[in-house]
Each structure stands twice: as structure tokens, then as C-alpha cells.
Point group: C2
Chain length 506, copies 2
């Protein structure tokens, strides 16, 4: 390594070490804000978060740092593999931000903040028209930010919407998603019709029997221990919306939410967030030393959380494993409920209006609707004031139901207050995991391992194949590295068709 | 105000505003550390706390700030009343630190850290001799720090131990404490003998019946609402040792601890910490704007927490108020237990070894033992290696019992790992509140207010008389301002004699 590169590496690492300290503090402050901070304490705590965030931001805007990062990129062939990943990402971030002045940055953040405020008000009132102008402003700001950006080589032929997708799932394009989602609709929409027409009766009377928070907490503890979540390196509590945060290398936090009349809800939110948390706990320790631990994409993350939630958690083998404990912890619910009845209840297919409560089968259709609508907005085909109406049409078309209020419709998700391109990652995750499960199956009997509670085997395979290179490779390379194949939705569609045809006796 | 003073005030306020931001972040990080941070995440979080603490520390060590603070002190007659309080305190802090170099500071903090580590190990092994050398080092470092200090005018004739006391309770001297505690022993030791000889039978069979965490949480919610703790400006959770932290002006946090077989324990720890929390919530808002909100002393704080815990919480009127709810929340415990039986059980007097579990009557004796021993250490009369033996002698003499292990004896409290002078504040608190209750009684019928649950009246009086000037006056001035009288233990001794003579039918 030449002297200049060496010096540049030193500057970059020192700056990132300092940034990490602020990041750790900010992670704790944000976790606190979402979980326990009282209502009237939030504003002041928000200011502290802005203050420390700004201190951290200044570090990256320092000329010496920028220059050093560019030296690294220019000389990346001299770097070891992990530092090379870092150099690429710093360069990417640099191109993204270089033409965005602090004034512009402030202007955009005001637009997004206003959008959030308008969305909250619109949601409260149940009136989409109160949000429509802000949605247009978000669209405009997003396009402007992309116009200001210098493209990387791989982004050269990207459309504006491709660029937006790329911010959440590197390398994912409109073309690929169109093909993927059209194929999904081809399979899922007619299959849903058959399911709806099926005579299969699934027992659901026990699903809304009241349970206590303490029972749900006992169940959460049990599920995390089954999954082998390491509680010496992590913790959980409750929050309005469940989430996971990698606070620090040895401190991974998740949250759940207890509803007294929906015992299933917190169980599967714990398994879902527990999946995210395992990904954070079992990634390579050296990724932290190279400051690349945050590079895994949202699609990768969702693939893992949904692997644990759906592929493991809603399987017959898993229900067999946990059934005795479910009966023990929730006796008032489970009295007279068989293992099979529990399995079927966990896999009820029912078109519904709210994405976050959707079943495994219909979930993808919720995502496709959002994808198609945001693409229409960005391309200019759809005026933001007509989005509410378009939403209803699409729900009718794909799911056969229609929201009677905007609150249950277009206003249900917060995501559009900060731009477009996020939603597809949720669906992509299921397709990734369906692909890598095929690779896993070749090495051992997954069902047998789950039924035996052998999560060391499952987590071990995930660690070696799925987690090991997630920070280091772009999604397309990563899935090819794991499976030897290019991205495809077919494994997912095969799985979902087989599983639900069997359950609904089609 | 002359220009120079104005400029100095501006510099001081800007610096303290910035220090406050770090302080707020640190408060959140510390609260998180004590409540939810997982075991293996603590070391890294500790480093973040040191890092931000150091950033804050640097602000005060800045020459421009020190100079400005000294200008304020020199011209304090030009300042408004609250800024004058600030100027005095900054000057005091300046004299305290001016001769302590960063190297010395580091040296002392290492000694205290080592003392903590040794104490933990000694406690684990139950062997005081493992801690004796560190205790000697703490004594030596404490004395050195005081020798390096420049005294204020009021401290001129203070002994070394007076200076130590002064750090926790400004103006409190050995002479005054000797008189106070000797008087207490004169009254309490023979009275305890009579209590022990009493034939009064108090029912206690229900005190160790098992309850769930959820029941205890319900009770905690109820008690905080009875006390009118504002949950929009505060929150609570659990921690190993209950404590209260004023995170920010509108964010006061407390903690409790649930023991399944001691339902009383968490109830009274909630009331105690709730008292601290009310003090923080109901102090004057403008004290925050002048950065003097942290000036109230430990003795003042304990006076308030023990006012709510003992004077209110263990009174007949309070038991009358909460009895129906206690029966409702803990039916398995309270079946067949009368209101009177609950009152008596809350006031059992029983010499015991552990200070934090002591009853209202014997508590003061636990403090006196610590006071007398630490005074002997500081004066050089007692070698630290003999402290364990001395501890046993004193417990035998005042309480008539003797610890069989050091863990239940001299090693029970963490306080001596960071110096001497803290303990007396715990006992002083009871004497303050006994004085101000006499003033309160003249204005309204306290028992009637408590029985009616009229905490607006009680908290209102506390706010106006006790909380209003706590940050602004030294303890001696403060208690005189509230009561018109000088500090005395007599009100406390009269109260305790009357209450327990009645309960034990002496």
C-alpha cells in the first residue's frame, strides 16, 4: 500500500470510529424515544437527536475526510477485500450527496417533515385530500434530488424510478420488478379466487380469546430462546410498532406489541423481529471493524425476518415444536385446540385491507399495488390527487375488496412521506428466501431440524451462507453466491402454490 | 448590567445550554444502561458515556468559560436572583476543581474504579479483607482532593470530614451531626429495647404470598396516579436497584423492582421514587432556564422521598385510601386481611442487617453506624482493615444483632467505593420533613387530605414551600425559609416516639 493510501485509510477509519460513537448514542436515544420516552419529553429528546446527528454529519462533510475517501476509491486495488467494500460505498455516498448543499438538504428535510405532519393529520381525519399536495411535493423533491446526483457507472441507464429503487435495493430495476410482479399476479390472483371458493373450514374461534401481557411476555421469552437469540447481546421491550435496531455490535434490540385479544400477533412479530435480530447478531464481527456492518439491504433483511416468521414459524414442524408450550402458557386459549387446528389458523388466507396484518399469501399483492401506484406517480401518469381512487380500484382488482375509508386505504402506511422505492423490498425478501431455502434443503432436512428445535443447525447455515457476505455484496451477487442462480420469483410461487393448495384442498 | 458582565453571562449560558444537551443524552444513556442494556452491550455503552461525558467536561474546562464564570462571580450584584445563584455555584465548582489537573483527575477516577471492582469481588466472595486496601486508597484520595481544593469563605474552619459532608449537604458539619445523632441514639436505642420487649403481636403471614409482576405493575400505576405523578412528563420501568433520574425538564424517569414474594417492597419503592420524581416535576420551570435545577441537595431530596414514603405512605389515612385497591389488585394476598392489619404490617419494627430493607424506626440507626465509622476512618482512629470488626460491634450495640457475613455487613453498600460523607443525608431527610410537616399541619388537616386522596393539596403545598427554593438556597437557609426555625432532630424524634409507642402499646 502506498503512503498516501495508508494515510487516507487512517483518516477514514478514525472519522468513522468517531461517527460510530455518535451513531451508538443516537441508536440508544432513538430506541428510548420509540419505547419509553413520555409524550411531553419527545420534543426535547428530538432536539438532542438532531444535535448529535448534526455533530456526526459534520464529520462526513469534512474536506479532509472526503478527500481521503476519494483517495481510497482511486487506489482501491491496494486495499484488502473489506476495505474495498468500504471504499466503494463511501464513493457511492459521496456521489449521492456531493451536489446537495446544506441549504438544499434543509429544504428537502422540511418537505419530508411537512409531509409527515400532513399525513398524520390526513390519517386522523381520514381524508386523503389533506395529504395529496404534500405527496406531490415529496415526488418533486425526490426527483430533484436524483437530478442533482452524479450517477455511478452501473446506474448510467437507470430511469428516475430505477434510481429510487436502487436507494433501497442496489441494482434492482423497474424492468426486473415488472416481470417479477406480473408473474406473481398471473399466479396469485387466480389462485386467490380458488381459495376464496374453497369449502375448507378453518377454526378461528380461539384466536381472539383474551390473554395477559405477562402471558405474552412469557411466550416472547420462550420464542426468542427457541430461536437462540443471544440475550446477553440483546434485549426487547414494547413499542407502538415493532422494530429491530442494531444498537451496537453486542447490543441488538427488538420490540413487540401486546394486544390482549390477538395472541398470535405478538408471537409472530417476535419471530419476525427475532429474525432481523439474528441477522444482526450473527453477521461477521470483522464487518464492524471495517464499518461495513450497515451495508446489507432491506430486501436481504426482509428475506431473513420472513424466513423465520413464515417459512420456519408458520410451518407444520414449528407448530409441532411449540404446541405444548403454547398450551401451557395460554391455557384459556388452547383448551381443546389441536396442533393441526393451530397450524391451520396460522395460515388462514383472507383478503384484508391492512398490509401489516396481511397473511403470507395475500401480502405480495398489497406490495404490488403500492409498487404499481408509485411507479405511475413518478412517471407522471397519475396525478397525486387521484391516488386514493386508484388505490381502491387496485384493491378491488387484485384482492376483491375495497376500503371504505382512506385511513384503511391509501393513508395506512407512513412510507410515502419520505419518498418512493421502499415497498418492493418487502416482497423481494420472500423471493430471496425461497431461493436459498432450496440450497439449504440440499444440505439437511429443514423440517426435521425445526421439529427437533435444532436452531443451531439452521442459524449456523444462515450465518455461513446468507449472513456472511450480506454486507459485502450487492443483492444480485449475494443471491447468486448463496444459490448459484440468478434472482427469480419462481421458487416463491411454487412454494406458495403448493402450500396453500394443500391447506385449502384445491 | 455592564457590558463585560453581559458578555460573560452570554458565554456562560451558551456553554451551559450545550452542556445540557450532552447531559440530556447522557441521562438517557445511563437510564438505558441501568434498565434494559444487555450484559455484553454494557462495556461499549460505557465507552460512549465516557466519550460524551468528556465532550461535556471539555466545555467547562475551556478558558473562556472559566473566565466568564469568574467575571459573573465578581459582578454578581449586577445579576438577577437566579443568575446570582448560578454564579455562586459556578465559583464553588471552580474552586473545587481548579488545582485538579486532568492527570490527577484520571488518577482519582482509576482509584474509585478499582475500589468498585474490588468491592464487587469482595462482596461476591463475602470477604471484607479483599476491599480493605482499596478503602484505604479511597480515603487517601479523598483527603488529597480536599487538600488541593481552595476553600470558600464559609468553609474556612472546616475539617477534612466537614468538607466531605459539605460536598453532599452544603453547610452540614461534624459538630452539628454529632449533636443530632447523639440525641437520636439517646432516644432510639432505649425505645428499641422497649419495642423488642413489647407483647404486641402483628400479623405478617400475608406479606410473603406470591404475586405476579403484572399485579405489581398495576399497583405501581395506581400509586403513581394517586400521587398525581404526571405520566405525560415521565415514565418508569424496572431495574436492579430502584432510582429516579431527571432526564430533562419534561422527562422524569423512575424505576422499581418486582419481587414475587414481597408485594410491599415494590409498592413502597414506587412511592419513595415517586416522591423524588414529584420533586423534579414540580420544581420551578425557570430554574431550568437558569441551569440551577441540579442544585438541590441529597438531604432535601431524601426529605421529600421519605415524606411520601413514610409520612404519607405508612400513615393510617393512606392505608385507608388505598386499602380497597390493594384488595382488588392482590386478592390472593389480602383475603381476610383488615385495613388495620395492613397498617400494622407496614409499620413492623424489627432490627435487621440490611439498610435498604430497614423499617422506618431502625433506619436512622443504620445511618448513624456508617457515619460514626467513616468519621473514625477519616480521622485516622480506625485502620481500614478493622472496619469489618467495628461494623459488627456497632450493630450489636445499637441494634442488638450482628451480621454473620461481611456481605450482610460492611460490604452491603456501594457508597464507600467513591468516598465518604454521603450517608448522613439519608437520615437528615427525615428530620427536614418532620420539621416542615409541622408547618404544613398549621395550614390544613394532612390526614384528612390524604384519606380523601387530595394530593393536589399536598403536592401544591410542597411545591410552594418545599420545592420552590430548593435549588436556590443552602439547606440551612432553605429549612428556615420553610419553617421559620433552625434545623433540629426533635420533631422527628417526637413523631417517631409517639407513632411507635402507640403501635407497640408502650
Amino acid at each position: 500500500m502506498n503512503k498516501q493510501t495508508e494515510e487516507a485509510l487512517k483518516i477514514v477509519k478514525e472519522t468513522l470510529a468517531l461517527e460510530d460513537k455518535y451513531g451508538h448514542a443516537l441508536n440508544v436515544l432513538n430506541y428510548d424515544m420509540e419505547t419509553i420516552c413520555p409524550e411531553k419529553g419527545m420534543e426535547a429528546q428530538g432536539e438532542i437527536i438532531s444535535f448529535l446527528g448534526n455533530e456526526a454529519f459534520k464529520l462526513r462533510k469534512d474536506d479532509k475526510f472526503i478527500e481521503a475517501a476519494e483517495v481510497l476509491y482511486a487506489n482501491k486495488d491496494e486495499l484488502d477485500a473489506l476495505d474495498k467494500v468500504l471504499a466503494d460505498q463511501l464513493h457511492r455516498a459521496y456521489l449521492q450527496d456531493k451536489n446537495i448543499t446544506p441549504e438544499k438538504q434543509l429544504e428537502y428535510s422540511r418537505i419530508f417533515n411537512k409531509a409527515f405532519v400532513d399525513w398524520s393529520a390526513a390519517r386522523k381525519e381520514g381524508k386523503f385530500e389533506l395529504f395529496a399536495d404534500s405527496l406531490a411535493a415529496v415526488d418533486k423533491a425526490g426527483k430533484e434530488m436524483i437530478a442533482l446526483r452524479e450517477k455511478t457507472a452501473e446506474e448510467e441507464n437507470y430511469s428516475v424510478y430505477d434510481m429510487m429503487l436502487n436507494d433501497y435495493e442496489r441494482g434492482m430495476t423497474t424492468k426486473e420488478l415488472d416481470e417479477t410482479f406480473n408473474r406473481c399476479k398471473e399466479v396469485l390472483v387466480p389462485l386467490l379466487e380458488k381459495i376464496k371458493a374453497s369449502n375448507k373450514k378453518i377454526r378461528r374461534d380461539f384466536l381472539s380469546i383474551e390473554v395477559t401481557d405477562e402471558q405474552q411476555k412469557q411466550m416472547a421469552d420462550y420464542l426468542l430462546s427457541v430461536m437462540k437469540f443471544d440475550t446477553t447481546r440483546g434485549a426487547y421491550t414494547t413499542s407502538e410498532h415493532p422494530f429491530t435496531s442494531g444498537l451496537a455490535k453486542d447490543d441488538i434490540r427488538l420490540t413487540t406489541h401486546y394486544y390482549p385479544d390477538q395472541f398470535i400477533s405478538s408471537m409472530y412479530s417476535i419471530i419476525h423481529e427475532g429474525g432481523h435480530a439474528l441477522f444482526e447478531q450473527l453477521q461477521p464481527a470483522e464487518d464492524f471493524d471495517h464499518y461495513i456492518n450497515g451495508f446489507k439491504t432491506l430486501g436481504m433483511h426482509e428475506s431473513v425476518s420472513r424466513f423465520y416468521e413464515n417459512r420456519i414459524g408458520r410451518s407444520k414442524a414449528f407448530v409441532h415444536l411449540i404446541y405444548p408450550k403454547v398450551c401451557e402458557i395460554f391455557p384459556q386459549v388452547m383448551k381443546g385446540v389441536t396442533e393441526e387446528e393451530l397450524y391451520y389458523a396460522l395460515n388462514i388466507v383472507e383478503p384484508s385491507l391492512i398490509r401489516t396484518e396481511a397473511d403470507e399469501f395475500t401480502y405480495t399483492l398489497h406490495i404490488i399495488i403500492r409498487y404499481e401506484i408509485e411507479k405511475e406517480i413518478v412517471s407522471g401518469k397519475l396525478d397525486t390527487k387521484d391516488v386514493g381512487a386508484r388505490w381502491k380500484e387496485k384493491y378491488k382488482e387484485y384482492l376483491g375488496i375495497e376500503p371504505s375509508t382512506d385511513r384503511e386505504g391509501v393513508l395506512q402506511d407512513v412510507h410515502w412521506t419520505s419518498g418512493f422505492g421502499y415497498f418492493p423490498t418487502y416482497a423481494i425478501g420472500n423471493m430471496y428466501n425461497s431461493m436459498y431455502i432450496k440450497a439449504m434443503e440440499k444440505e439437511f432436512d429443514i423440517e426435521a431440524a425445526v421439529a427437533a428445535g435444532d436452531f443451531d443447525k439452521i442459524n449456523g447455515w444462515m450465518k455461513e451462507h446468507v449472513f456472511a457476505k450480506a454486507n459485502r455484496l450487492a443483492p444480485a451477487e449475494w443471491i447468486k453466491d448463496i444459490t448459484g442462480r440468478d434472482f427469480t420469483p419462481e421458487d416463491f410461487l411454487t412454494y406458495i402454490t403448493e402450500k396453500f393448495s394443500k391447506i385449502y384442498e384445491l
